[in-house]
Symmetry: D2
Subunit: 364 residues, 4 copies
């Protein structure tokens, strides 16, 4: 019942703080025989790595992952995989204000209130740096999925930044811009918009979508380990996330039954659906359609505008959060959301195999 773990059979425990010597993930329950190298994982870490363009924090971290256990001769052994990432650019000399003052919108005040102690350096455990460990674990999950469901494909992208929505879903565009947005036009508009925010020391929220294509039908375990339940917990656990949607999401509140119920017909390879309001999940179990999750990331609370706050000793004061920060943390949340999707799906594949084996139901 570790508070810093998630997953049932594929179980990930992350550890480490923003400015400690290292952080990482202990991954237990990975199937044996999966080819795995640090390079395979590094690909995904590089995608999340800070300082790659002017839109993300200028902290310079190599984010190099080392595999300390669980892999032998290039293959997973089925025992715990320890993934360690050393912190190299901590710049810990001067923390100034934040030692005594609580930054509004950050976890400073709640960590203090809960624990009576907090590692104030860069947010300590509550720093978004923790998500590097998730991305590393997600890299392991992806390789295991490759063995079990080679056609399964997980793709994350931004669909909204502040008031600006992406109008297109041109998946080929995702890798062509620094925002992972599937819309070339939006990419341009967003670049200008974010540049302005960055220069003024402001920040903005974002919405990210992650889809899994070609996931097998039958994943998910009612009633409290539903696939959507586990996905929403996974996404909500990411720093700064305030909302999670499956398929039609919050908009489902506005639909009538006629509009919402995706009709079914028989296709050449099994059931085919007329639409996907369900986001690929019915009753907590995957249908075989695309699994569609969206989540909203709040703007980073580190801004250059003065904000009112209090000190540890209870005095009213003000704070400006200088330092190296992302004007839109949502950008770097894209690979994190993909990683969480990969972990949850692999976990449910193993769970399904455990309880059901190959005795799944057939249609036709």
């Amino acid at each position: 019942m570790s508070m810093n773990s998630f997953g049932h059979l594929f179980r990930v425990t992350t550890w480490g703080e923003s400015h400690g010597p290292a952080l990482g993930a202990t991954v237990d329950g990975c199937p044996p025989g999966v080819p795995l190298t640090a390079e395979m994982i590094q690909v995904w870490l590089d995608k999340r790595k800070p300082g790659q363009n002017k839109y993300t924090t200028q902290r310079r971290e190599a984010d190099e992952v080392r595999i300390l256990s669980g892999v032998f001769e290039g293959v997973t052994t089925g025992t715990p995989i320890q993934l360690m990432i050393e912190n190299t650019d901590q710049r810990s000399k001067d923390y100034g204000d934040i030692v005594e003052k609580f930054r509004p919108g950050h976890a400073d005040i709640t960590y203090w209130t809960k624990y009576g102690i907090r590692d104030y350096r860069g947010g300590g455990r509550s720093s978004a740096r923790e998500t590097a460990a998730r991305v590393a674990a997600g890299g392991v999950a992806r390789e295991a999925i490759k063995m079990l469901a080679p056609d399964l494909k997980i793709t994350g992208f931004m669909v909204q930044m502040g008031e600006h929505k992406a109008d297109n879903r041109d998946m080929d565009q995702i890798d062509q811009n620094p925002f992972w947005v599937p819309d070339a036009e939006a990419a341009k508009t967003w670049a200008d918009y974010l540049d302005g925010l960055r220069k003024s020391g402001s920040s903005v929220g974002a919405m990210i979508e992650v889809i899994a294509q070609n996931a097998p039908a039958g994943l998910g375990a009612p009633v409290y380990a539903k696939l959507d339940t586990d996905l929403s917990a996974a996404m909500m656990s990411i720093n700064a996330v305030k909302g999670v949607e499956i398929g039609a999401g919050m908009q489902a509140a506005m639909l009538t039954g006629e509009a919402n119920a995706d009709e079914i017909s028989m296709g050449p390879d099994g059931p085919v659906y007329s639409s996907n309001h369900a986001g690929g999940i019915l009753g907590g179990i995957s249908t075989g359609q695309d699994i569609v999750v969206r989540f909203a990331v709040k703007p980073t609370s580190s801004i250059l505008t003065t904000r009112k706050t209090i000190t540890k000793s209870g005095e009213n004061t003000e704070i400006i959060t200088k330092g190296r920060h992302d004007p839109c943390v949502g950008i770097r949340a894209v690979p994190v959301g993909e990683a969480m999707m990969a972990c949850v799906i692999l976990d449910h594949m193993l769970l399904h195999r455990g309880q059901i084996g190959s005795n799944q139901g057939k249609i036709g």
Copy 2:
């Protein structure tokens, strides 16, 4: 790792199907010494009970709960509490179409695909009747909370039905209408609207908000047992829920850092916040503000309009779902959301006490 359980220390396992002899909840980890009677729990079940007005299913269930264990001389003993509700109005004679056909939008096809067998009677395990067990467990949680935090108050209400939003938050109105909506005007409009839908055999989605007032600061356990993580899992696990929001929710994507960061000042009894975009949770830990959760419920998929579907043997066909159904299942989701909030909050109170005891941090 039971798939039908939730909670860490206050652990609830539900069991039972829509048309079996009974359903219920096994509640483990309740503190001892909590006064508890069936009547205390029945209050909440009656709130969820079907057939109370024309807007909910006409299935007539007494929904009478029996306490089979864990209570001695009117007080909890600290051992498992078994709460059983017998099914009395199953009308199981004729299931007609649904034995062979999959109802679109329902879990029929996914249960079949996953398990190779399904209890088609009323949806079996995937029926919303399962939520009665949650409400019963929530009743236990409420009594335990009373002992630990007497001022804590949990209130659920509808904020939207289809396109119709509630404009007011007049909490005194909630119990004055069949929709639990805090807006007398909305109640009238909704009555007409839903009556129309009901008569035409249609249905509509809804949005529910649940707030917890006077919850202690410090609840929640980073990084994967955050209070918001557990709340979103709890709400997403409710039948028909497609989206969950904390505080500003999905709208957080549109905010700037200036707008979003709730400013802090010192009040007479501790920190006071200028706003509550955070929904009472920062870094996964409660701030002491109101804890605010919203979730969207899709329209029931059982409608009188013909929909295309397939049979178990893979043939294309059509279906009309007759029977006793709610035109807006969101109504009865209100007490369910409240129950889940109660369970999650109690669980985190116990977790916090376990790890931290009374050594919490102080401000000032």
Copy 3:
């Protein structure tokens, strides 16, 4: 993390007290498609049932199990199975001494000290009646095992009663005597011995062995979910058990490396071992040999000899425990040990299938 649950994927939660209305087991994670009726389970409950001969408590319980959920048309659905056994012979009128006094050797004093409340009627939750729920759950596990490993056979028997050991292992004898002892001579000696103890109001301990034959190699998950770890937890959780052994057990302390290391050679169907000091488990994983577990049950503490004790208010006093008790509770522990073995083995079959699938290693 329910305290009243065990198992990873095949997860059993028991509930209920000795003198409450009912007790039972909530069984989650059972594979779907397993033929299951109450009668199949009743067979094992009848074996444990009290009052069947003069050597067990004269409490008369029908111990009739009802399946309240999780089975449809005679087959498991993969959803939680609720097994309920009503208490019919509670005789709750007069509890006399035990309301105020703590019976030595019983859990009276510890339940009081822990919880500040205790159901004193027949020991409440700490009564050996709880084991009926385990036996019912074990009945489910046995049926699932039949589907997965038809040749697997679980057999429990007594190997020692007080100072009297069984010299033979004539398995055909087990069902021929009230002690489940595989030794006709021992059965006679024990009958006389126990008759004497019973008449004098005394009691005696016992040692039980449970073996699983034809269990597949590869079950068990290092390092903390080893097959022997889970078996020892399962057996130690049974009321009155004070020691658990695997294979050579405590005697392993006396062996040299030469004596202990079971030699391996290749047989027609795979590896063959020269001996089984390991009890069928190496490094926490089954070898394919017989899995051998032994456990010691202490004598029931309810005896007719006066014992010193104290009252709730801390006064010195004496107590004689009258009532209906087993002179040797070890007898009825035999079916309980078998049930726990069945549950643990099924659980590990599912776990193994989940993580490994069919990619197991091969020899030759």
Copy 4:
């Protein structure tokens, strides 16, 4: 449900192999505010460290622990503590026979059979080197216990080596000899005996006892998280352990009810018991007496005598296990047993506090 984790609230996950770059423990759920340095943990690791005298393996490992997270300014923060120990003396050049052959009594054959791959270098994950991580975690637990129950004292010692029992319990002797035996005479006899075994390349088993003095009454959570259940699982999970006993242990089978039921009287500070057959635990809950656990360790299977075995390809062959090994692994199991006791007791202190708080029952 990580297979390489144990504990409920104080949750330890170990990782790493004998000949990988490092091994360690991820410790989650530790209370905040506990003073902790690497030096405090190193004390216990040094006690377990190999190569300290001629009776333990000559592998030279510094076994230096590093704290990578969860500690800030010398105090625990309540977030995961990562304890890493680098492997420095792997000597991995030549593994000879063991690449193809299975060593009898070792986990070689079962890891291969389960996973289809095994890290043969020094036993990989099944090596007793894993216990270094447990000892490190136990060091953390001890410091947390100091804050919660300053008088609680955990002591492990050997009570038997092969056929040689310790006749005395002179606790002052424990640290005076390389066997941690509380009997000066035994220490002499054992030295000669073990020297002989060592020279002949043989090995022998041992029995270890671990006691916890001044543990609070009320620890343990029925029915499946009993204190004795969790202790037996903890001890059985240690490499080479084949039996676990609480109090009278397996000998309880031979006792009568009169002999076994420890009588209770009222002392100046609460209940006093005439004896401790229960090992300090009744109904799974601590009484306040000494908690007494014993476990048997089998002889190391690495001996210089030729043993029959088979190869991966299924051929009969023979093997001699050369290399650096302990003639009696039981010696180094003493600090490991202590560490497991510390972890289990702390875990149950937190669990108890979580569910019960300070509302415990009182006597008198």
